[in-house]
Amino acid sequence: MGAPDMDELSFTDSQLHFYVKDALKAAIQGDCDFYNQLVAVIHRKERLSAADVALLVTCLKAVTGAVSCIHISHHKSLLAAILRMSLWDYGTNVMDALLELLVALASSNGEHVNLCLEMLVSNFVPPSAYFEKHRGPSKKSEVLDRVHSTLIDIANLVPLSPLILEKIVRDKMPHVYVKEQPIVMYVENMLRLESGAMGELVGSMALIVLMDKLVELDVEIAWKDILEDDFQKDVFDFELEDLAEPADNFNQENKEFTREASMQRFCSGNHPEKLDSLMVLTFEHLKCCFETGRLVQVFEILLQSFRITVLTAYKSKFAQFVMFYACSLDPENCGKLFADALVDIFVNGVHPEWRMSAVAYLASYLARAKFLPVPLIAIMLERVVDWCSKYCKNWGSDINPKAQKVFYAGCQATMYVLCFRMKQMLAIPRLKSQLQLMQIDAILGHPLKPLQVCLPSIVDEFLRQAKENRVCFLPERLADQDFLESKHSTVFGGTEKLGMFFPFDPILLPNCDRYIRPNYVYWSMVRSSYDEEGTSDEDVADAYDCEDGMSIPDDRSGKGCDEEDCDADEFSPSFEKMSITPRDSSHRFGGRMPSRIRPSMSPESL
C-alpha cells in the first residue's frame, strides 16, 4: 500500500497504529516516506493550531500502539524527535499522549528505559525561556505532577527502573554555577521523589546529593566574606545592637552595621543566595517529614551524610544548620541523636582533625540549641569531661599543643559550653552538684596547661564566670595576653585553625535565619542573664526564653557597651570573641583587617 498522506488521514485511531507499524517496518527496509512524515509531525513545536495539536496527539497515540516495532538503531530520528519534546512547551492533551508513549516505550524494550527516564528527569526543570516569561504556577504543577506520576507508572511496570533513575537523578544534578531558579526547581523535584512512593528506593540518594550540593555551595563562599573587617565593632556586637538603643554618637556612626545589614550585603553575591534558597527548601521539607512522622529516618540519612561530608569539609559555614533545624523539630530524638553522634566521634574516633571538628560542632551545638533540655547538655558535657579527665591521668607531661590537640579541643569545648550554659546548669541543684563532681578544675589545672593553650577569649570568659559563680577555683590567666590567640592556641588549632571554629555561630543567610532564630541562643541572652546583679533563677530562664534575646532592660545595654568600647581599637574585647568566630588575625592581613566586607567577586580587598 502506498504511504498515506498525513493531511488526509481519515481512518480511526485503532487502524492508524497498523499503518504506523507498517511504516516502521518499511523504514527498516529503506522506504521512509510515511516514517519521515511522522517524524516531521512530532517535530512541530511552534505556534500549533488546534488542528496541529490534534494531529500531534493522534500521531503520538498511534506510535504508542506500535512501540513493539520501534527499533533503537533503525528508528533513531523518531526516537530523537520524541525524546526532544519538552512537556513545558505543550498543553495537557499533548503531555498526556506523550507520557503514555513514554511509558509504553519504557516497558516494551529494556533498551529504551534509560532514554525515557532521562527525558523525564530533564523535564524537572523547564527551558530557560519559561523563567523569562514568568508563567504561572499552574503550568508547573501540570507538568511536574504528570512527570512524577509517570515515573511511578514506569516503576510499576519495570521494577528495576528506580535503580536507573537514582543514577540519572544524581548525574543530572545541576552544577553550582547554574542560575538559582533551575537548581532550586531541580532540588524541589528531588525532594518530591524522596517523599513520594519511590522514597524508600531513591530517597536516601536524594538527601545525600542535596547535602553534597549544599556543602559544595558552602565551600564556594569565601571565609573572608564573612569575617569582619576593621569595624570598630565586632560582628558579635550586632547581636547587642539588635536590642540596644544607640546611646551615643559613637554607636550611631556604626548603626548601619546591624546584623540585618551585614546579611544583606553578604547575600548580594550569587552563591549565598542559592544556598539560602536551597536550605530554606530543605527546612520546609524537613518540616513536612516531621509532620508525617518520617523525620527520624530522614535524619539518620542526613547524619550519615554529615559524618562523611560536612564534618570533613574544611570549616563548613552554613550547611550544618540543616542538622540544627532538624534537631529543633524533634529534640528528643534527633536532637539527642546528633549530640550522641558527635560525642561518639570525639571519644572513639580515629582521625584527630575530625575529632576536633566533632567536638567543635558539639560545643557550638550545645551552646546554641535553645531546644535542648539542660540535663541532656549536662550529660553530654560530662562525657567529654570524662574523656579529658582520663586523658590527662595518662599524660603527665608538660604543655604540648600540637601533640595533645584533641585534648585541648575537648577542654576548650567544655569551657565554651559552660560560658553559655553555666548559669542555667547552676540553677538546677542536681546539675549543680553534677557539675561540681566533674572536677573540671582538676583538668584545667593539669600540667598540660589547657588554660594557656585554649583561646584566651574563651578562657577569660570562663574564668570570669567561674569566679563569679564560685564554681571552681582556678588561677587567673597570665595577664600579658590581650591578643586573640596565644602563641600556643595557634599551634593547637593547626593550619586549619580548628581552634577557632564555631560552626553554629549566627547564620548570615537571611531566609534561613527566620527558621533558626526561634530556636537559637544568642550571646546577648546569656550576657543579659548575668549582667544583672543578684539574678534570680526566673530571670535566667526569662533571658533564655525571650524570642530574640531582646527583653533586656535598656540600662543594661549601656553597661555592656562600655565594656566593649574600651579596647575597640585593638581586637575586640574578650566577651565578644566568645560566640562569634573571631576575626582572622593571621599575618596575611598584616595585623590589620581589610577595610570592608567584599563579595567574593572582587578580590582586590586583599
Binding site: 485503532s14 497504529h17 500502539g65 506500535a66 512501540v67 513493539s68 509504553a104 516497558s107 516494551s108 524494550n109 529494556g110 533498551e111 528505559v113 510499576n156 511496570l157 519495570v158 521494577p159 528495576l160 535503580l163 536507573i164
Partner: protein, 229 residues
C-alpha cells in the same frame, strides 16, 4: 518455575583494610552488589546468596592499596531463563497491543500483540481490561492475575523479558491449573492424530504432570478397550 537454578560458587571477596573489624558485614555488602545483575561468570541473575566463610585467614593482596582476600563458598540462587522456557509472572498492565507482567518481582516482561495467539481477545468489561479466550470464556487474563508464557528473549542488561503466548498451553494460570487435566486429555488424543506435533513434549508443566499422565494412561487404555469391544 523454569529458569531458577541453584549453584555453588567458590568466590574470593577482596576487602579494604578498614573493613577488617567488620569483615562479615563487608562481605555481605560486597555480595549484595551482585544481586539483580546478570553475572556472566556464574551464568545468571543472582537472586540470593548464602555464604559460608572457609577460614579466618585471608591473603593480603598487594596493589595501589593492599586489600585482603577472603575465600568463601557461596550458594547462589540464579535466574537464567532460556528461550522457549515457560515462565510465570503477575500481570501489571493490559493494553490492546500488549500484556505487561512482572516475573519474580523484579523482571519486567512484555508480550506484544503479535505474540498473543488469536485465541485471546482484548476487551473492556465493567471498566476493567481483560484478555478473554474466544474458545473458553472463563479463560481470562486480568491485571493482578498470574500469566504463564514462553520466553522469547532476555535482555541481560536491564533484565527485561520478551515473551509470547503463541503456544497452546499457556495463558492465565488460574484457569490453566483448574482445567489442565481436561485440556491435556483432549490434547493427547489430538496428539495421536497429529503425530508430527512435537511441541507438547517440550513443555515442563507443573507437578500435575505425573498424576495427570498416569490417569491419562488409564483412561486411554479404558477407551481402547471400549473401542475394541
Amino acid at each position: 518455575m523454569a529458569g531458577l537454578e541453584e549453584c555453588e560458587a567458590n568466590l574470593i571477596v577482596y576487602l579494604h583494610p578498614s573493613k577488617e573489624n567488620c569483615a562479615r558485614d563487608a562481605i555481605l555488602s560486597e555480595l549484595s552488589t551482585l544481586l539483580f545483575t546478570y553475572n556472566e561468570t556464574v551464568g545468571g541473575v543472582v537472586l540470593a546468596y548464602d555464604p559460608s566463610i572457609l577460614s579466618n585467614l585471608a591473603k593480603i593482596v598487594p596493589g595501589t592499596f593492599p586489600c585482603f582476600g577472603v575465600q568463601l563458598k557461596a550458594k547462589l540462587l540464579l535466574f537464567n531463563p532460556k528461550p522457549d522456557m515457560v515462565l510465570e509472572g503477575e500481570v501489571v498492565k493490559l493494553t490492546p497491543n500488549s500484556i505487561h507482567a512482572v516475573v519474580l518481582g523484579f523482571s519486567s516482561a512484555v508480550i506484544a500483540d503479535d505474540d498473543i495467539r488469536d485465541e485471546f481477545k482484548y476487551k473492556i468489561k465493567g471498566g476493567e481490561e481483560v484478555y478473554v479466550s474466544r474458545t473458553h470464556r472463563k479463560h481470562k487474563i486480568k491485571v493482578g492475575t498470574i500469566v504463564r508464557f514462553s520466553m522469547k528473549s532476555f535482555d541481560e542488561e536491564i533484565l527485561h523479558i520478551s515473551g509470547s503466548l503463541l503456544a497452546p498451553h499457556i495463558g492465565g494460570v488460574r484457569w490453566l491449573d483448574k482445567n489442565l487435566e481436561e485440556w491435556s486429555r483432549a490434547d493427547s488424543t489430538a496428539t495421536k492424530r497429529n503425530t508430527g506435533d512435537r511441541k507438547l513434549e517440550n513443555y515442563t508443566l507443573t507437578t500435575y504432570e505425573t498424576s495427570v499422565k498416569s490417569d491419562e494412561q488409564i483412561e486411554k487404555s479404558k477407551k481402547k478397550r471400549r473401542q475394541h469391544t
